[in-house]
Amino acid sequence: MKTLIELKKIKKSYKEITALDDVSLKIREKEIFTVVGPNGSGKTTMLKIMAFIDEPTSGEVFFYGEKISNRNQARKKSTMVFQKTTLFSTTVYKNVAYGLKLRGYSKKETEEKVKEALSLVKLVGYEKRLAKKLSGGEQQRVSLARALALNTQLLLLDEPTANLDPKNVSIIEETISRVNREFKTTIVMATHNMFQAETLTNRVALLLGGKIAQIGTPQEILRGPSINLASFARLENVFSGKSKIVQEGTSVIVVDDGLKIEAALKKSGKVTVFVRPEDIIVSKKIMSSSARNVFKGKIVEVSDFGPVVKLRVDAGKDFVVQITKRSFVEMQLNVGSTVFLTFKASSVHLI
């Protein structure tokens, strides 16, 4: 398969800090490539170099084998969606049309392309609304549409679904895979979301401290035993303990303080597992369900991320759970509230 963009010995420093250190990487045509890594590992810097926004301190960038020297021109080849939703203070239409105008499309072509892009993210009819007045998820979808309208060969996404509610996450994920499938767009995406890295992508790179620690298929990186991944700082709900196979298909993991987690795994001995914050259901009363893990705990911390709220719950061990702001308000939760945490044995993943 052809290489679309290649980074060769890229180094990027900001004064004293080295953000990227000797990164060499080839992105293949038409693939979805994910970069995972903790905050500050250099993911955003790497994308900004591929977007030709930032200039590397040293090293070279090749696009279809051609060395890029004029970043002003190269910028039209790729486009990036930032982690922090950034919008022009104008209408949705004008936001999406911005890049098309720069490319000199006629009014009619622009209208068609804007409409097409908005339909991809399910925002047709929002053209005249002020972009900044939309909800967080809708705003991020406008940013995505604005990038999609340009139909560039390379699309760079910096944590496109961070801090969004599940409905918007699924619309964005759907759009990403559809664009890749139908328009053959090559996509490089930075994410914290292991599930996305696993389900959406062809290859994954693990970036640690500005260096590529590992590169491979999602299965190789996420399923295989990996010391690097275990040190993945932002991974929440990581528990280590002794696992015992109790029945066919499931194991009980006894975590250090006696907490018992049931997992749909066939593994005995010492293991490290994690549960994604969004996979845990929070309820005020105990629920009867098929889920195998139920814990009672107290909320010890609440962090607001706009549409979603992250709760830290002490249930013998600290769990981080993610719920929508609406649920949070309707359930009248706060620090100190007693809650039950419920999650399925199949939501427990092995590291």
């Binding site: 977007a51 926004i53 911005y98 340009l150 760079l156």
Partner: protein, 217 residues
């Protein structure tokens, strides 16, 4: 119609608008680029430059008026220009007076724009120049406000107009100088008329700006 045109109140009003409007536009020529430059670029001494313009915001108009009088009067360093007294001298004086307002407000408007906007424009295909224009467009509300505030300051000031204009009937009389001197002469009613006009101008312009700002978005 002819009567209205000949009416001194009308003439004074028009002169005021003309002098302060020209002064504001003139000042915009240098203050706006300067404000944008200070806001967008990082350079050594940037904080110092901002500090200077902020300090000059409070310049008393009488002090500036006196300095200009000393420069423009027949024996002054710029006496050869024969600008004292004249509407042109008032225009120059007011243009200088509002420079720190336009520079400071423009700088802070540009600085308040989301720093990612420039990168956003670039990733959508903009050149460095086009990216700067995108940042400017985001700060347009603040820039318009800077210009309007300057005009209001210019039309409402007294010190400069009196010092280098001299309130000469039919030549350099503007609203503020006329009010000041007519009050002294006991013509209260006449002064109140002029005051109402002055207030009406200032309020109308502010109101129109607010409406305009809502429209451009």
């Amino acid at each position: 119609m002819w009567e209205i045109l000949q009416n001194p109140i009308f003439q004074i009003t028009i002169r005021s608008l003309h002098i302060s409007g020209t002064a504001t536009l003139l000042s915009t020529l240098w203050s706006l680029p300067l404000g944008i430059l200070i806001g967008m670029k990082s350079f050594p001494g940037k904080q110092f430059a901002k500090g200077i313009f902020n300090a000059l915001l409070g310049m008393p108009t009488v002090a500036l008026g006196l300095i200009l009088y000393l420069l423009f009067s027949r024996t002054g360093a710029l006496g050869f220009l024969h600008l004292f007294p004249s509407p042109q001298a008032i225009i120059i004086g007011q243009a200088i007076l509002v420079t720190p307002i336009i520079v400071s407000l423009t700088t802070s408007a540009v600085e308040s724009v989301d720093p990612e906007i420039a990168d956003l424009a670039k990733t959508l295909g903009a050149s460095e120049l086009e990216a700067s224009l995108a940042v400017l467009r985001e700060s347009i509300g603040g820039v318009v406000l800077a210009i309007i505030a300057s005009f209001n300051r210019a039309i409402a000031e007294l010190g400069v107009a009196l010092a280098v204009g001299g309130n000469i009937r039919g030549f350099t009389q503007v609203l503020t100088t006329t009010i000041a001197l007519e009050v002294n002469r006991g013509k209260i009613e006449y002064s109140i008329h002029l005051m109402i006009i002055l207030l009406a101008i200032v309020f109308t312009i502010t109101l129109l700006t607010n409406l305009l700002q809502r429209r451009i978005k």
